[in-house]
Every structure is written in structure tokens, then in C-alpha cells.
Amino acid sequence: MSQLLLDVNGLTMRFGGLVAVNGVNLSVKNRQIVSIIGPNGAGKTTVFNCLSGFYIPSDGSVMFKGEQIAGLKDFQISRKGLVRTFQHVRLFSKMTVIENMLVAQHRHLNTNLLSGLFKTPSYRRLQDEAMDRAAYWLKEVDLLEFANREAGNLAYGQQRRLEIARCMVTQPELLLLDEPAAGLNPNETKELDELIIQLRDEHEISVLLIEHDMGLVMGISDHIYVIAQGTPLADGTPDEVKNNPDVIKAYLGEE
């Protein structure tokens, strides 16, 4: 049983003459933390945009759970269980924390207008389940006490955690995190580190991570891909990558 959860081959994204991503291959197995690293402007976020359907890749195939998803719409991909966060926090900042969690579960709720107006039993049941799931995940990320606070009023670190909780409540199988540690203090980074490991070990999902914090990446990744200028440079375990002369020259050497 070695079917890959995510299998990307020859992924290419061109913007006019600019080749932002050039023949990238990736694979993620079940219950794995895989990282993508590379210098600024390497095309990491563009890879995420292609995987999550925000861009339609110019070339290459994206297989998720054995199914071709390149070309599907963003919301269709997310419904299949591949959910992402963004490099910049994108919460519904005027809505409360719990409302953020409920919006994420939109498709798990009974959205029929009449059932909602008359509060039918099925409407209530799904609503209760959604509230319970929301409470569960808020507790996991330590935000339960802020449930009725406006999301925009949370501290930055809390907003980042809420973003992850909001993804988790959609019950994904693969979570794409774009620089989740950016702007966090060392303490918060450590908590994030533990949270991501917990997602893999307890909740049995896979995580694909873009991160500049090398300590975090080297510590938690099962596998690392290095991209530079849109092209794959190297991949392997943290130790292999750390000692790869190309990588040191192109990426770590710069810092």
C-alpha cells in the first residue's frame, strides 16, 4: 500500500514569458510532513497556487489520492481534502472566531433555505456537529476562550493558529501551509512546531509546508524539496539536504 497522497510531475507555470515554476516534481505520502524551501521569489507560493487551483498549471500533472486535479476549480479541490493557508493571514476579520470556523464548514451544513428558516431537525443536527467540531479545534489551538471575539482583534500569533484551525475543521487530508511561522516569536514557533507534528501523529493528515525558518523545517520534515528560480534543485531527508553542496551554495549560503 504505497499509493501517494499527492504526486506532482513536471509542474510548470508560465506568466507570459516568465517561467515561475519549471518542471517541479513532488510527492507526499500519508502521514508525512514535507517541506518546500527555496530563496525568495523561487516560486514556492506559485506551486501552492497551482496545487490548490488558484492558478491552472501551464503544464504537468497533479494527482491527489490517485485522481488528476490540475484544472479543477479552487473550491472543488478544497472539497476533495486539499486545503491551504496563505502567506499573509486571510481571516474574516470582522467576523468572530467561531463564525470563521462555521464558514469553513459551509458544505458540511444544511444550506437549504427552508430547512434553515424552519430549523428542521437535520439543520439543527448538522449545526450542532459543526459547533462541536469548531469547539474541538479551537481547543486544540488554544483559542476556545476567544470564540466570540472578532478575529481581527486577535494577536498575530493567535490569528495564525486560527487559520490552521479553520482549515482543519474542513476535515482535510493534506494541509498546505505557506510560511506559517513568519512573524512568530520563538515561543510561538515552538508551539507551531508541536501543533504540526500533532496534526501528523494524532490526526493522521499530511502537511506540505513552505517555510523560511530552517530550524523548524529541519526539525519536523520527513522530506524536503529545494526549489531555486522555479526549478527543482535537490530533495531528500533533512540531513541529505543540509549537506548538499548545491543547496548550501544556492540557499543556505546566502543567509
Partner: protein, 417 residues
């Protein structure tokens, strides 16, 4: 430095506009047009206006801080504490509804009539609030759906003799259908394009009604539209239908024309309460939350598996159906409709109600609708300056309280822990 340029630019625009609109006049003399200048006094007003605009732009920052210093009404502080409010709320609501129902029997016919009009605007404001305030879609042609509702009832009643009560859902449904048909291709567009397309749609509907004389009576409109009945009882002196008794005979009281006015008012109250209830429920349902989320961050919505086209379309369609609902009642109350009633200014007024009320907030929209319909009546002497005052009110509101009279409050959701 840029401030001075800004001020000169604004003053220049004022100059050009004032010259074109006030400075020169076209007169018809026989069959020819002659151009005449404005009088000396008018010119001094124009110059004064330009200087005012120049100074206001130059010192915009200071004026803004001045506005900032103006006390903001602390609505939260005026109300009793959170827990008390929860217990008081049903009582207040009940008292308000009873008040609404009893009140018309104690005041003049004119006041009741005005209240009925206000209720229509409340319904329209609440409908547009779904589209603009909640879903964040700028619709400048909302009046088109109002017109569809009004003409639906007028035509069905005229050609097929259908009753008001039967037409009400049909009107709402047809307006919703129009909303759906327009929304489907248009909602993919970005905000400003959407505004232009809806503006155009509003005009198309009006022009269509104006020119399709065979069906709609063109500019002459449709008159003699049936009034609503109370379970078949009419509010006329004599029953129109053979074998029917009018309301006053059935009740055994003397005929009074104010019964009809009060009856219409009561219908409006009930329709308004219905609209308030439904929309209030909607905002607490998944679909209402999705509208707001989409307004806040469309990209995040897409990443969470929300289909934005369907969500926008539902807001657009439900808003349109509310307008259709209000339109059918408008036709019934008025007894006469023509394309004149559905001009762009109506859309602008409804939009102003939503903006003034505080995007998204229902209480705010209701208050704003009351202000916007009653103020012009109180300031009859100023009716010529109505649009001017209107503009001034908008500018002051945007500077003083951009979030509207009553900003939207988030519902508090209890977690069962």
C-alpha cells in the same frame, strides 16, 4: 504641496460644473435657442462656492479632526447591560409590534399613509442590504426588481383578475427570476463592472416598461389596480363584485375611507415584519455567514471550498425577491403605477438608506429608512433643495460615521462545553 494641487483641482471641477449648470442658461425664443449668462448675484454665489470648496479641500485634515472630535453616540452605553438586554428583548419587541399595530388608530390619515410609504422603503432597504451590505455587491439598479414586482401584480390583476395575496409570492418569485437571470452572467464581474451593468439593467427595465405600450400602457402606466382584500372583504363604499359585501357593512359600522388606509398600513407592517424575520434568520444561517465571509475575503472563501458564484447569486436573487415583494405592495397601495415611479433616483435613495444605516445592520437600515422618508416630508419648504441636502447628509455621514448609524453587531454564539 499635493494638498494645494488637490484643492485647485477640486475648485476647478466646481467651477466647470457650476458654469455649465448655473452659469449659462439656454432659452427658447420662438424656434431658436439662445444662450444667456447668469446674473451678477448668481456669479458671486458661484465664486463663493468655489472658494468654499478650495478651502475645504485645503484644510481637509483639520476638518476631519474636527469631525473626529464630535461626540459619537455611544449606543452601547445607552442600552442596559448585556444579560438584561436578553430578557428585555422579547418584551420590547412585543411592545413595539403592539405599538405599530395600535398607533394608526390614533393619528391622522396622512401620517398613516406616510408610515406605509416608510414601511415600503424599509423593505426595499432590507432587501438591498442583503446585496450591498451583507454580500458586498454594489447594485445600482435595484429599482428594476421593485418595478418587476409592481408590474407583475398590476398586470396579473388587470389581465387575469388575480388577487393581491396570490400575486405577492408570484411577484417575489418573478423578481427573483430576473435577479437570477441578470446575476448569472454578471456576478463573475468585478465590483465596479457589476455596478455599471446593474445601473444599465435598471434603465433597460424602465425603458422597456415605457415603450411596450401594448402591454404596460407605456408612460401612461396602469391605473385602477385592485386594492388588497381582507379574506375577500373589500374596503370600498360599495362592493365591486356581485354578491360581495364591503368591510364596513360586514362589520356593521359606518363607511370611512380611513379604514382602507389603515388596512394598507397594517398589511405593510405584517409584510415588513415578515421580511425582517426572514432576513434576520438568514444572517444567522450558513448562507448569511457565507455572504459576509465573501465580502470580507473572497480568496479565503474559495480556499475553504465555498462556491462564490452560487453564494453571490443567492444574495442577489433573495435581494431581488424582497424588492419584488415590496413592489407588489406598492402597486396595490398606489392603485396606479407608471415607469416614472422606477427611475434611477429611487435606486440611489435605497442605496443611501443602506449606507446611512450602516452596511449590514438591520436596525440601522430601518432607522435610516425612517429618516430618509420622513425628513423630506418635514422639510417640505426645502423640497427644491432635497437632492442638495441629501448629498450633504451623505458627505457628513461619510466623514463623521463611515460605519453608518448603527454598525452591525456580531451574534454571540454559545459553545456547549
Amino acid at each position: 504641496m499635493s494638498k494645494i494641487y488637490n484643492a485647485i483641482f477640486a475648485a476647478g471641477i466646481t467651477f466647470v460644473l457650476a458654469c455649465l449648470m448655473i452659469g449659462v442658461k439656454l432659452n427658447t425664443e420662438g424656434t431658436t435657442l439662445t444662450v444667456s449668462g447668469a446674473s451678477g448675484e448668481q456669479w458671486s454665489w458661484i465664486v463663493g462656492g468655489i472658494v468654499l470648496v478650495f478651502l475645504a479641500q485645503l484644510f481637509a485634515d483639520r476638518i476631519d479632526t474636527l469631525f473626529g472630535k464630535l461626540p459619537k453616540p455611544k449606543i452601547g452605553a445607552l442600552l442596559p447591560a448585556e444579560e438584561k438586554r436578553a430578557t428585555l428583548k422579547p418584551w420590547l419587541l412585543a411592545a413595539l409590534i403592539v405599538g405599530l399595530l395600535v398607533w394608526p388608530f390614533m393619528v391622522s390619515r396622512g401620517a398613516v399613509d406616510l408610515a406605509t410609504l416608510t414601511l415600503i422603503y424599509i423593505m426595499l432597504g432590507l432587501g438591498l442590504n442583503i446585496v450591498v451590505g451583507l454580500a458586498g455587491l454594489l447594485d445600482l439598479g435595484f429599482v428594476a426588481f421593485y418595478a418587476v414586482g409592481a408590474y407583475t401584480y398590476a398586470l396579473l390583476s388587470q389581465y387575469f383578475g388575480l388577487s393581491f395575496w396570490a400575486c405577492l409570492p408570484i411577484a417575489a418569485g418573478l423578481a427573483a427570476t430576473f435577479g437570477f437571470i441578470l446575476g448569472f452572467p454578471v456576478l463573475r464581474l468585478r465590483g465596479d463592472y457589476l455596478a455599471i451593468v446593474t445601473l444599465g439593467f435598471g434603465e433597460i427595465i424602465r425603458i422597456l416598461l415605457n415603450n411596450w405600450t401594448a402591454l404596460t400602457g407605456g408612460p401612461n402606466g396602469i391605473s385602477g389596480i385592485e386594492k388588497p382584500t381582507l379574506f375577500g372583504l373589500e374596503f370600498t363604499r360599495r362592493a365591486k363584485e356581485e354578491g360581495n359585501v364591503p368591510f364596513h357593512e360586514w362589520m356593521g359600522i359606518d363607511y370611512s375611507s380611513s379604514y382602507k388606509v389603515i388596512f394598507l398600513y397594517l398589511i405593510a407592517v405584517i409584510l415588513m415584519l415578515f421580511v425582517v424575520y426572514v432576513i434576520n434568520r438568514l444572517t444567522r444561517m450558513p448562507i448569511g455567514r457565507a455572504w459576509e465571509a465573501l465580502r470580507e475575503d473572497e480568496i479565503a472563501c474559495r480556499s475553504l471550498g465555498l462556491n462564490r458564484t452560487i453564494i453571490k447569486l443567492s444574495a442577489f436573487t433573495l435581494g431581488a425577491s424582497t424588492a419584488g415583494f415590496a413592489g407588489a405592495f406598492f402597486a396595490a397601495r398606489q392603485g396606479f403605477i407608471s415607469p416614472e415611479s422606477f427611475i434611477f433616483i429611487e435606486s440611489a435613495i435605497i442605496l443611501a438608506i443602506v449606507v446611512l444605516g450602516g452596511m449590514g445592520s438591520q436596525i440601522g437600515v430601518i432607522l435610516a429608512a425612517i429618516v430618509m422618508t420622513i425628513l423630506p416630508e418635514l422639510a417640505r419648504e426645502f423640497s427644491e433643495y432635497r437632492m442638495l441636502l441629501f448629498g450633504l447628509l451623505m458627505v457628513v455621514m461619510m466623514r463623521w460615521r463611515p460605519q453608518g448609524l448603527v454598525p452591525m453587531k456580531r451574534p454571540h454564539l454559545e459553545l456547549n462545553q
